[in-house]
């Protein structure tokens, strides 16, 4: 992509064989694509199949309907689950991005006692899996009367070491002159942060926004543990419990489809930031 090869006779030969060789990869990728897409297509078809009509895996339905989707909103506390998932994810994205950016700014640009100790403590927690602290975190939240509440669900997940670490890397690579110029212009600290720093780190913020959203929206274990009533569930937890109850396949697939759509929309809008974020090698799946 970056280099054009010198056009020699050898190059001509190579280009020919190169074109032929690309048919193989295209075919192979088509097969892998079927593996990735077929289950998702099945969800869509099953969710949109009319009731009692023959459908997958034995037949392809003759017509499609949105009835199952509208009906799923009457099952259990489905609208509430959707709302809980939305709050859990949206609040987390906003708060994590804001607090982590503030921390990154201070950790890079300001000298204060305990700076390095704080940075390395945060980085060290990257090595502690969430499941290892599941029990003490739950006890803590239950002592604070936070079980079955939205804040009890959200607050503990706002400590995101990856966000702090990645934004810090990004801020560290910004040139000093930008901040010197801001100071000479007499900009206050908060204004420097909001008007100078935040716009500059937009790429990493966009990448993190997608991943933080996906992590929270699709999260199971923590919401399962901390939200024990029907009203306190997130959509993912609700979906997991629906499966074990007596809801039709069409109903379950409709719920699954509804849960998937926001992720798909975000992906389509911000796709390049996902690729860039992973290519930078910073974000762990």
């Amino acid at each position: 992509m970056t280099t054009t090869l010198p056009s020699t006779t050898l190059g001509k030969e190579r280009r020919h064989s190169g074109r032929r060789r690309r048919i193989g990869p295209t075919l192979a990728l088509t097969v892998i694509s079927l593996f990735t897409v077929a289950p998702l297509l099945a969800v869509v078809v099953l969710a949109l199949s009319p009731e009692d009509a023959p459908t997958l895996p034995h037949a392809i339905p003759g017509s499609l309907t949105l009835d199952n989707i509208t009906r799923i909103f009457d099952v259990g506390e489905f609208p509430l689950w959707l709302w809980n998932s939305f709050v859990y994810s949206a609040v987390s994205v906003v708060v994590i991005l804001l607090t982590a950016s503030m921390a990154a700014y201070a950790l890079v640009r300001k000298r204060f006692p305990g700076r390095n100790a704080l940075l390395w403590s945060i980085v060290a927690t990257l090595m502690v899996p969430m499941q290892a602290t599941l029990i003490p975190t739950f006890i803590l939240v239950s002592r604070m009367e936070g079980v079955n509440t939205l804040w009890g669900l959200t607050l503990p997940t706002l400590a995101n070491a990856q966000a702090v670490f990645l934004i810090r890397q990004f801020v560290r690579d910004l040139p000093d002159e930008i901040f010197d110029a801001a100071r000479i212009d007499g900009a206050g600290e908060w204004r420097t942060f909001v008007q100078i720093l935040l716009p500059l780190i937009r790429p990493i913020l966009a990448t993190l926004a997608i991943f933080v959203f996906l992590w929270h929206w699709n999260d199971l274990l923590w919401p399962l543990v901390v939200g024990q009533t029907d009203e306190a569930r997130t959509l993912t937890v609700g979906l997991a419990t629906l499966n074990t109850e007596t809801v039709s396949t069409a109903g379950i697939m409709s719920a699954a489809l509804v849960s998937f759509i926001p992720c798909l929309v975000i992906f389509m809008v911000l796709q390049r930031h996902i690729v860039a974020g992973i290519a930078a090698g910073g974000i762990k799946g």
């Binding site: 499941q131 599941l134 706002l158 070491a161 274990l221 998937f260 992906f267 690729v275 930078a280």
Partner: protein, 321 residues
């Protein structure tokens, strides 16, 4: 001598000091004030993170170790047990079963996801047209939750599902993908996680491939290396650091398997898919044996820590900054 030099130094310093005292003192004062202001600003900016991490990260990390040494009841009664939870853990056949099932799952999952994601990346890297489209299509399952993946694949693996219908058409099966013997069930679960997760590692590999110098591949081709030879002796060795990164990350992910099991098998049949996290979840939230569950959590922590340290050592030169 020192007595002599000291006054002379003092006298040397005096004129200059006299000359600069007002501005220097001011300057020092101003600098000190500025430094203090900088520290205050820094602390204010870091304060929200400090509070959140202090309460919800550092405290639980310390609490995990402490709790694993106690019997903890929901009403707050704490009994110090020393290492009793750990000795009990190592005598508990269910714990060893869960560790065995998790290990077997990791053995199936990790090679499979590496092969699939590496193959996807190599193929994408060869494409000139539609590379972006294929990349997006292959990545889409990563956007779904493990719960959704579990629901769809439960349907696919069902005895009356599409897979067994197709096998039946060939005169085979039905295959009890989720209710058969342990390796079959764990393999089916691994396949679901590969479907949902390989898009991420594929993009990591793809970035690694794109970073390889074109000249090296050019040289291999001029030397008459076949596709496979070039891949085996040029591409793969150059990709080793990336391969190692993915290997460690996916091994950690494998040891944490829970969601798909919760949705698809409930740990069964007969504990065939009873993973370490499922064990922890049951002990904590079914039997409310919090100290014991915390001890199981420490085992996972030990596993992840060892893997992380190996990785850190391996990529030290690249990451240490």
């Amino acid at each position: 001598m020192s007595v002599q030099t000291l006054p002379s130094k003092a006298s040397d310093a005096r004129p200059s000091r006299l000359r600069t005292t007002p501005t220097d003192a001011n300057g020092q004062d101003a600098r000190r004030r500025q430094r203090r202001r900088e520290a205050v600003t820094g602390i204010l900016f870091v304060l929200p993170t400090l509070v959140i991490f202090g309460v919800f990260k550092f405290l639980p990390v310390l609490g995990a170790g402490a709790m694993s040494l106690t019997q903890y009841r929901l009403n707050g009664d704490v009994t110090f047990l020393g290492t009793d939870n750990y000795t009990r853990l190592f005598d508990d056949p269910h714990f060893w079963e869960s560790l065995g099932a998790t290990g077997a799952y990791v053995v199936l999952f990790v090679p499979l996801i590496i092969v699939v994601s590496l193959a996807g990346a190599v193929l994408l890297n060869k494409l000139v047209r539609f590379s972006g489209t294929f990349r997006a299509v292959l990545f889409v399952p990563y956007l779904s939750s493990f719960v959704m993946a579990g629901i769809v694949w439960s349907w696919i693996f069902d005895l009356d599902g599409p897979l067994n219908t197709a096998l039946g058409g060939l005169g085979l099966g039905p295959v009890p993908f989720l209710s058969g013997d342990q390796w079959l069930v764990l393999g089916s679960l691994a396949l679901v996680s590969v479907w949902k997760g390989f898009g991420y590692s594929m993009l990591v590999f793809l970035a690694g491939l794109k970073a390889q110098p074109a000249e090296v591949h050019e040289a291999a081709r001029i030397d008459g290396a076949s596709n496979w030879q070039a891949f085996r002796h040029v591409t793969l060795p150059l990709l080793k650091p990336v391969l190692f990164f993915v290997l460690v990350i996916e091994t950690i992910v494998g040891f944490q398997v829970f969601d798909t099991i919760y949705v698809m098998t409930g740990g069964g049949p007969n504990r065939a898919s009873y993973s370490l996290i499922y064990f922890l979840y049951d002990q904590g939230f079914k039997f409310l044996d919090f100290g014991y569950a915390a001890a199981a959590g420490m085992v996972l922590f030990a596993v992840v820590l060892i893997l992380s340290l190996i990785q850190r050592r391996f990529v030290e030169g690249k990451d240490a900054q």
